[in-house]
Symmetry: C2
Subunit: 593 residues, 2 copies
C-alpha cells in the first residue's frame, strides 16, 4: 500500500500549492517579460561581466555565423544577420542568462535545400514561419510535444545532420567543380562523380585547418580564465581557434594575391556589405522566371514548416534545461522568446535560429550574469557587418570547410552506439532508422520517421505487456496467478484474454485462475469487456476465476458490462503476499470462490 495518511498528503498539497502560487502571484506581464525581474538590480559590476562574456561569444559568433551561412548555401552576411537580433530580442523575453540564440549548424542544414533549389527568400520566410509556429505552440502550451522525441531519435538526427553537413563541404574541401548536395547521399554521390576535378591547394589548406583546430583544442585543455597568464593565453587561443584559422587562411590568400597576384584558392568572394534593412519578410518571390506567391512558397517549404520550428524548440529547450542547473524551466517562456527571435529576425533577413550549444556554453564559461550579454555580442556583429565585409572576401572556402567539418565531428555522440548496443537493441534500431532515413531522404524525414517509429513501438509494447503467469500449489488445490500491470490499455485486452485462456488450458479442472489487479490503477472499457467475456466463457466450462484486489472504480467498470459477477471480485493479501502463499492464506483466498 502506498502512503495515504491524510494529514501528510494535505500538508504536501498545501506546500505544493504555495510554490505554485508564488510563481503565479507575480503579474503575468512580469512573468512573460523576464527582463523586469533582473533589470532593477542591474549594476556596473554585472555590466562588466556581461560585456566580457558578450564580446567573447561575439568573437565566436562571427566565424560560426559565416560558416553556418555557408552550410545553408547562403552568402556569409546572412549568418551575421541571423546572429544579430537573437541577443537583442532574447534580452527581453529570455529566462536563461546563458542561452545564446542564433544560427546553428542543424538549422542551416534544414534550410539548405530551399536555398540551393530556390532562393535565399525561402530561408527568411522559413524563419518568419518558424517563429509564428513556435509562438503558437508556446501560447497553446504545446511544448510537451517535444517529449515524444526520444534521446535515440535526437542522437540519430544529430549524427545524420553532422554527416550531411560535413559531406556537403567535401566540394569546398577538395576544391571540386560542380555542386555538392542537400542530402548526404547526394553529396557523397557528387563527391565521387567530381573527385577528378580536385585541386591541390584547397585540400592542403582544408586539412591543415582541421589539424590546427584539433591541436588548438588540445592546447587549451585543462586551462581556464582564472589561470596563470600563460595558461590564460592558451585558454583564449583555444577558444578563439575558429577565428584564428579563418584569419590565417585569409592572410595566406592576401599575401599570395599581393606577392604573386594570383588566386590559387577558391574564395568566399564578394558579399553584401553594410547593415540589413528592416523590412517585411518576403511573402512572395521570383525564382528564375517563376513568381511564387505566399501559398506557392508554403507548398515548397512543405513539411519543413513544422520540422524547423520543432527542431528549433528541441535544441533550445535542451540547452536551456542543461544550463538551468536543476531549476524548473519555464518552457513556455523559452518558446515565446525563441518565437520572437525568429519573427523579428526575419525582418532583418535572418535564417531560422535557435539556441546554440557552443556559444551558450562559452557564454556560461565566460561568466555571463544576465541575458544582457547578448547586447554586446549583437554590437560586435553590427561592427563586423559595417567594417569587415570587404575583408571577408578573402576567406578561403577550404578553411571554412575544414572548420565546419571539425565542428561536425564533435557534434556526434559516439558513446551512445555502444551504450544502446549493450542495453537496448530496440532503441538502437530506432536510432539507425532515423540516421538512415535522414542520410538517404533528408533530415526532416528522418526525424519524422524516427518519432513515428518510436511511437509505434511504444504502442506495441503497451499492447503486449509482459505477463508472468505463476503457478501456486497448496495441498488441496492449484491456482494460477495472472498479474496485471498498473495501466492496462485497450490494445492489451486481447493479450490478457489469451493469457487467461492459456492458464485455463494448462490448469487442472479444479484449479483457480487469479487475475491479480493489485497494481492496477486504470483500465480501458475494452479490457473490461474482454475480461467479462472470458468469465462467461470459463463459466460455461465451469472453470473458476477470481479478480484479486481490483479497486472499486475498476470493478464498477467491469460490473457496468456484466453485473452478475460481483462475487468474483475479492480482496485478499496483496499479490506480493501470494508469492509466499501458505496453505492457510490460500484457503482464505478461496473462501469467496
Amino acid at each position: 500500500m502506498t502512503l495515504r495518511n491524510e494529514n501528510i498528503q494535505k500538508n504536501l498539497r498545501r506546500r505544493l500549492k504555495r510554490v505554485a502560487k508564488d510563481a503565479c502571484s507575480i503579474k503575468t506581464a512580469k512573468k512573460r517579460l523576464p527582463i523586469t525581474r533582473w533589470l532593477p538590480t542591474y549594476n556596473f559590476t554585472i555590466l562588466i561581466q556581461d560585456m566580457i562574456a558578450g564580446i567573447t561569444v561575439g568573437l565566436t559568433a562571427i566565424p560560426q555565423g559565416i560558416a553556418y551561412a555557408v552550410v545553408a548555401g547562403l552568402s556569409p552576411e546572412y549568418g551575421l544577420y541571423s546572429g544579430l537580433m537573437g541577443g537583442f530580442v532574447y534580452l527581453f523575453f529570455g529566462s536563461s542568462k546563458d542561452v545564446t540564440v542564433g544560427p546553428t549548424a542543424i538549422m542551416s542544414a534544414l534550410t539548405a535545400r530551399y536555398v540551393l533549389d530556390y532562393s535565399s527568400d525561402f530561408a527568411v520566410l522559413a524563419a518568419f514561419l518558424s517563429g509564428v509556429v513556435i509562438l503558437i505552440m508556446g501560447t497553446l502550451q504545446l511544448g510537451f510535444l517535444v517529449d515524444f522525441v526520444s534521446v535515440p531519435v535526437i542522437s540519430g538526427f544529430t549524427t545524420a545532420a553532422a554527416l550531411q553537413i560535413a559531406s556537403a563541404q567535401f566540394t569546398s574541401l577538395f576544391g571540386l567543380d560542380g555542386k555538392s548536395g542537400t542530402v548526404f547521399s547526394q553529396s557523397v554521390y557528387n563527391f565521387v562523380v567530381n573527385i577528378r576535378t580536385a585541386k591541390l591547394w584547397d585540400p592542403v589548406l582544408g586539412f591543415s585547418t582541421i589539424l590546427i583546430l584539433v591541436l588548438l583544442k588540445k592546447f587549451g585543455e585543462g586551462c581556464s580564465r582564472n589561470d596563470t597568464a600563460v595558461r590564460q593565453f592558451r585558454w583564449l587561443l583555444s577558444l578563439a581557434r575558429n577565428a584564428v584559422v579563418v584569419v590565417i587562411g585569409m592572410i595566406i590568400v592576401y599575401v599570395i594575391k599581393v606577392v604573386q597576384d594570383q588566386e590559387p584558392l577558391k574564395l568566399i568572394g564578394d558579399i553584401g556589405s553594410g547593415l540589413p534593412k528592416f523590412q517585411l519578410p518576403p511573402f512572395s518571390t521570383v525564382v528564375g522566371n517563376e513568381t511564387y506567391d505566399f501559398s506557392d512558397m508554403m507548398e515548397t517549404l512543405g513539411p519543413q514548416s513544422i520540422v524547423i520550428p520543432l527542431v528549433s524548440i528541441i535544441e533550445s529547450i535542451a540547452i536551456a534545461k542543461a544550463f538551468a542547473g536543476g531549476a524548473q524551466l519555464d518552457a513556455t517562456q523559452e518558446m515565446i522568446a525563441l518565437g520572437f527571435c525568429n519573427v523579428i529576425g526575419s525582418f532583418v533577413r535572418s535564417m531560422p535560429v535557435t539556441g546554440s550549444f557552443t556559444r551558450t556554453a562559452l557564454n556560461n564559461a565566460s561568466g555571463v550574469q544576465t541575458p544582457a550579454g547578448g547586447i554586446f555580442t549583437g554590437f560586435l556583429i553590427l561592427l563586423a557587418l559595417s567594417l569587415l565585409t570587404s575583408t571577408f572576401y578573402f576567406i578561403p572556402k577550404a578553411s571554412l570547410a575544414g572548420l565546419i567539418i571539425t565542428a561536425m565531428f564533435s557534434m556526434i555522440d559516439y558513446e551512445i552506439f555502444m551504450r544502446l548496443w549493450k542495453n537496448s537493441k530496440r532503441e538502437l534500431l530506432v536510432m539507425f532508422v532515423t540516421i538512415l532515413v535522414s542520410l538517404w531522404f533528408g533530415l526532416e524525414y528522418g526525424l519524422v520517421i524516427g518519432i513515428l517509429a518510436e511511437a509505434v513501438m511504444l504502442l506495441f509494447r503497451v499492447a503486449r505487456p509482459k505477463i508472468e503467469i505463476s503457478s501456486l500449489k497448496t495441498a488441496d488445490r492449484e491456482a494460477f496467478a495472472i498479474p496485471l500491470g498498473d495501466n492496462v490499455a485497450y490494445c492489451a485486452a486481447e493479450h490478457i484474454r489469451r493469457a487467461v485462456l492459456e492458464a485455463a488450458q494448462v490448469a487442472g479442472d479444479d484449479a483457480v485462475i487469479i487475475v491479480d489487479g493489485s497494481k492496477l490503477r486504470s483500465m480501458d472499457m475494452t479490457v473490461a469487456a474482454n475480461l467479462m467475456a472470458v468469465v462467461k466463457d470459463l463459466e460455461r466450462k465451469s472453470r473458476k476465476i477470481v479478480f484479486l484486489n481490483f479497486n472499486p472504480e475498476i470493478q464498477k467498470i467491469c460490473e457496468s458490462i456484466n453485473n452478475k459477477h460481483a462475487d468474483k471480485f475479492i480482496n485478499a493479501p496483496s499479490a506480493e503476499d501470494l508469492g509466499m502463499l501458505n496453505e492457510r492464506k490460500f484457503s482464505a483466498v478461496n473462501v469467496n470462490v
Copy 2:
C-alpha cells in the same frame, strides 16, 4: 516480490510448451484445412442437424442478401452471389462451426460509395482486393493489428454505419424522387431537399413493415425450437420475419397489379436472372466514357482497400470469438478462410463479405454441428437464383427500406453511451469523434480517425503517468517518495524529471528524495538520461536523492550514462513498506545516502 520459485516456474513452462507442441504436432496442412479434422467423423445424424440449420440460415440469407445489395446500391442478385461462395469456401478453411460468411450491412455501406459513383465492378474488385489483403495479413500474422481498434471505436463505427445505412433508405421509405447519399450527412441533406416529392403509399407500406417486424420479434420472444407446437410456430414466424414482410409486400404489389393493373409503389424491378458466370474479377472497367485500368481503379478505391479488409477481419474475428466459447481462437486460420471467401467470391461477382452476426447466431441456435451447414445455405441461394429472380421483380422498395431500417436500429449499442458517460468520459469522447467523422465524411474516415485518436490519447497517457509524491516524516529527517510505474517510456522522462524537481523544491534542505523503482520493470534510455541529469542538478545544490529498488538491468542502463552514481542505488524494504515507515527502517534506508 512475485513468485520466483524456480521449480514451479520450470514446471509451468514445461506444461505451457506441451500445450503449444500438441497444437503444432498436427501437420500444418491439416491445421490449415480444418475440414480434415471433422470430416472423418462426419455421420448421418450430424448431416441432418447441419441441413436443418443450413436451410434455416438460408431462409434469412436470401432476404438479407437482397437488402444488403440494395444498401450497397447494387442490383439484388449481387447480394445472392455474395452469399453463395461463403458457405462452400468456409467449409474447407473455417475453424468455427457457427460462423456464416456473406454480405453484411457494414460491408455493403463501405462499398456503396463506389457503386453509386462508379459501377458494380468496383464492388467486385473490392472483394478481390480485400481477400488478397486479408490473406496477406493472415499469413504474415498481422491479425494483432485489430487489437488497436477499441470497443468505443467499434461501437461508434457501428452506430454511425447503422445511421448511415438507415438514412440512405429514407428515399425508398418515402418514395422520394432523386438520389439518396453515400454518407449520412448527404443522405439527410437529400432527404430534406426532396421531402416534397414524398408519395403516399410507399411510406404507408414502409412504416407498416417496420411495425410488423417489431411485433413479430416480440411475438417470438421466449419461444424456442424445442417448445410446444404453438410456441415453435411463434419462434419460426419470428425467425422468418424478414422473409415474411418481403413476401407480404410482394403479394400486395402483385394483387394490385392483377386487379387494377397499376404499380402505385416503387419496385426493385428487373434483375439479372440465373447463376453468375465463373470469371476473373474486373481488373479494368468502363464508367460512362472513361476506361479505368487497374491502377485507376486502385486509386479510386483509395483508403477503402485497407479499411474494407480491416473491417471484414474485425467483424469476423469478433463473431468467431463470441462463438468460440472460451476455446483459443486461431485468428490466422479465420483470416485465411475469410481471405479465400472474398477472393473466390469475387470470381462469381460477390461484393466484399465477412462473418454475419445475425446469421451466425441463427446457425448456432438452429443447432449446427459443422461448417457443412453452409453447403445447404449455398444450395438454397442457388435455388433462389435459378427460380425466383423473376418473382423478386415485385419486391417493393419501401418494404426493403423498412426491413433495413429496422435491422439497423438493433445494431446500435445504446447502453454503451451511458456506460461510458458514467465510467470513462475520455472513451466517450473517442466514440463521439468516431461517430461524427463517420457521419460527416464517411465511415472509413471515422474508423481511421477513431483508431488514431485512441492511439494518440494512449501515447499521452503513457507520457503523463500519475505520480503520487508521498511525504515521509521521521523524528530527525524528512523524505519524499516518488513511485515509478512498471514501464516508464521515453515520453514520460520529462514528466518524471519535473516530479523530482518539484519534490526537491518543496523539500527542506536535508530532506531525501526517494525515486522508488520497486515496480519498475523496463525503462527507456531517455528516462535514464533524464534521471542522471537530475542527479547532477540536485548534487550541485547538494540535495540528496536515492534510487530505491531499481533492478540490476535498469541500474546498468543508468550507470552506462553516468557511472559516478552507483552509491545512489539502494535496495531496501519495498515501497509498500515505506508507507508504514518507522524510524528504524527509515534510518536503514538512509545508511547509504
